[in-house]
Subunit: 110 residues, 2 copies
């Protein structure tokens, strides 16, 4: 569950702006406010099954966005490359030509 | 028109993976293969008005994605910052502490 929460949290950070308000609400209540399906059903005035369906659809949408845009994955790669450049700058392990070239590669990949 | 083409091309690069195949097709035929609405209507077997509506909806979707995710804008800012770091590294205009700190800021912003 904790892993699932982390995964949804990350997807939500990146893509929640693309969700409609009902999908956003149901994810927030379930994952971030730790409410049960029945509690959410009462708040949103839908059935428990309705909440379940909304939740599934909201999660599917988030996963669709990441599958097709891959922002989490792309950002992670760029962060790793930038951290590597920063570390090599800190430790003087590479000449500046290599660092310049590596920065150029990141720019080109964007 | 050239400006419009450039704008749609950029949006298409970033977000076309989120479009359904009909929206993708109509944008490709109209903007990148330079076909008229009537020609596209014949190919897709819909009315000229139908093509126009598809085109509008496809463009609106692209704009919705940029408005809500802002990837083009975000990427542009990061590229400008990386180019600045690269230039300062090339020209030795800043001490490495400043560059290290600026790389850290980009990482945090991602």
């Amino acid at each position: 569950m904790l892993e699932r929460l982390e995964e949804i949290g990350k997807l939500f950070d990146y893509y929640s702006n693309l969700l409609n308000s009902k999908h956003k609400d149901v994810l927030e209540l379930y994952y971030f406010q730790d409410m049960s399906l029945s509690e959410i059903a009462e708040i949103l005035n839908v059935t428990r099954q309705g909440v379940f369906d909304l939740l599934k659809r909201a999660e599917n949408n988030l996963q669709f966005y990441e599958k097709n845009l891959g922002l989490i994955d792309k950002n992670k790669k760029i962060i790793i490359e930038l951290e590597s450049i920063r570390d090599r700058l800190i430790n003087d392990t590479d000449g500046k030509e290599i660092l310049i070239s590596d920065i150029g590669k990141i720019i080109e990949s964007m």
